[in-house]
Amino acid sequence: MIAEVGHFALVLALVLAIVQSTLPIIGAHRNIAPWIAVARPAAFGQFTFIAISFAALTYAFIVSDFSVATVARNSHSAKPLIYKISGVWGNHEGSMLLWIMILSLFGAAVALFGDNLPPRLRARVLSIQGMIGIGFLLFVLLTSNPFERLANPPIDGNGLNPLLQDFGLAVHPPFLYLGYVGFSMAFSFAIAALLEGRVDPAWARWVRPWTLAAWCFLTIGIALGSWWAYYELGWGGWWFWDPVENASFMPWLLGTALLHSAIVVEKRDTLKAWTILLAILTFSLSLLGTFIVRSGVLTSVHAFATDPERGVFILAFLAFTVGGSLTLFAWRGPSLKGGGLFAPISREGALVFNNLLLTTACATVLLGTLYPLFLDALTGEKVSVGPPFFNSTFVPLMVPLLVAVAIGPMMAWKRGDLAGAIGRMKFGFFAAAAVAFVTWYQTTDGPVLAVFGMAVGVWLVAGSVIEWAGRIKLFSLDPAASWRRLRGLPRAAHGMALAHIGVGLVVMGITGVQSWTVENARVMRPGETISIGKYDLTFKNAGTIQGPNYSALRGIFDVSIEGDHVTTMTPETRSYPTSTMTTTEAAIRPTIVGDLYAVIGEPDGKGGYATRFYVKPLVHWIWFGAFIMVVGGLISLSDRRHRVGAPARRAATKTLAEASA
């Protein structure tokens, strides 16, 4: 019964989406106020019904209603509650439902917080949002109904893939989707602007917070996924250039470009057509990602239940959405007149440079991801493109960008002073050189590139700190005056500095783990000792323990450095009887300079166990850096000008803020 309610609610949501995507946009065109006014209640209603539907599916999972096909295929009664819930989106049908719910959540958010938007723009945005909703609701209802019933329900379900029964992965998809789908806002705003034929700084100020929020979510989502791969797959790898990883990385790259080009539109009223195009492309890549994951055109670890019929549907939807919006762009784009002129060496110039490199990098990833498909389509030849391609194309593109990130923010708008900026970077240069020297001195082996990588990371962090310190005139004014400037600095400035520092940390983390990882693997018997890096590990014993839905082999290792006991590590190998699958639970001892990573495998039958150990220098900096980037993004998001939004209301709030200060 509950499942039928969910299904019915989904149909009602579709009806509302159809209303939402037609009346308001026609109303906005013909200036019919009551039709424009339909947009908000329709958006709220659509979200409500989809939320009811999602709740119904969640309920079916929680009570283990195996008469629902999705539940029977993907859940099991003996699973812990959290994985019953995360199982809702651990499969194709449920994850699409989550996708749609988030889409409608964003629509409802515009309806709720969009008071300061001109009603016609809001109506258009919500209509576009409704159209995307129609596409995905039809997709779910026609090809992937999550509420399908089974005539003969099984006694118990098949269980969720044990690799997915993990906290990191339980929360990874929702964040990823919040990011993917969040970019639909920028898309809808872009289409609405093309329809209105007007892009101005106010428009950019409305778009930026949505883009920034989506970007933060996507960053969290990608970082969680990479962290999960690191501790769960048992290889200590954190990024594989897998098609599905690429599918999430491409919108991130373009989203990052969009974030920066929107600043130029907002501050300087130029780069308009480009920004619109970026907004369209960013969301298009999110859709393409969905297509890649669900259609089976490319094989990947992540591939859900793939089905060519679904592929055709998504491709048709993709052609309609992206083809339609790009046609609109080709038609209306030329009328978007740019405003301010600027010299190549300027803040705008630096942001254009950023955009060029990010889009090129994104194009490279796209090419590498789809090249096997193209080649197959053209010649029938089958190849796979692996990490060597991405490492040798992506990295060289990133280096100049990273070097420039430190200098760009020091440039003035319109015409910058490159020599002055480089002069200010003197300290950064010395810091980078010093770290490069120390790195070179400390590490006897490891690639030369690693020294350079560390230097780039330090250069970036130093540059961001110098720029930030320069803004508050740290050391050149007395501390009290600097403190006042610090308080007065817009939050976006703090956010930017933090986010750029985060990037620097990520660069150092990647350099560290890629260059100086040490590995030691062998069959060990209890009592034996193995040494890796500065650590000595003594294998105490191994035994079997019982978990809620698995049994595990757990090894106990005493870790010591030069005879001093530091910690005890307990790696596990879990086997799940319902799916005859084993997972690795690596034991990780994270420290700021690097992780010690231990894995235990099968017994050899003669009292020994296959064991593997890694020392992964700086690896946690990758995720810590990503975290800092997100914090920067959130601080920037809390900036007053985003909260206020419309320029019309800006003056009023400013006086209010001054009065309260």
Binding site: S300, A303, P308, L326
Partner: protein, 179 residues
């Protein structure tokens, strides 16, 4: 200049056409060339630490068999691996493995860690034999009949459904046929 704004649209349509063709290709489908043909002539040494290698003669013993192409570097192989452990435990059909373009130590570690479902293994280190078999994506699974002919090929991850609905019924059907 106006035309410049249409460039993204043109690129997108080229992409969409390629994607559509790609859908039609269905990378999981069988290239007809190899079906019903005898298995290629090859002779591979076993994966490090194992003694039974794999050669053409081993697939022409009057017995139906499965050949699975795997590699330690292949994530999807890890996903389908439990199914092969099941097949081996059930013991209805011999399963052989071709270890494709793999490092010998990694391959041996992989089999030790997760279990070895294969009756025979062949280490195809440089991928030469893989070319003869028409391997273009790992994992791949072949069904070989009593006469040593390839009767079915599955590209990509083996799933419980495909194994139970297609592979095993075909194996039973082939086993029932007279020599």
């Amino acid at each position: 200049m106006r035309l410049g704004y249409a460039i993204p649209l043109v690129i997108f349509f080229a992409l969409a056409v390629a994607l559509y063709v790609g859908l039609g290709l269905k990378p999981r489908d069988i290239p007809s060339a190899l079906i019903d043909k005898p298995v290629p002539t090859f002779d591979l040494a076993a994966v490090k630490g194992r003694d039974k290698g794999l050669a053409t003669a081993d697939l022409n013993t009057g017995e139906v068999s499965l050949v699975n192409v795997f590699a330690s570097w292949c994530g999807p192989c890890r996903v389908e691996h439990p199914l092969w452990m099941d097949v081996q435990a059930a013991g209805n059909v011999p399963l052989h493995g071709i270890n494709y373009k793999d490092d010998p130590d990694n391959a041996a570690n992989w089999l030790e860690r997760f279990g070895d479902p294969y009756t025979r293994t062949g280490a195809d280190r440089n991928g030469r034999v893989g070319i003869d078999w028409g391997v273009y994506g790992v994992p791949e699974t072949f069904v070989i009949d009593r006469q040593g002919r390839i009767r079915y090929k599955h590209v990509g991850v083996m799933t419980r459904d495909i194994l139970d609905d297609r592979i095993l019924p075909l194996v039973r059907q082939l086993q029932e046929q007279k020599q």
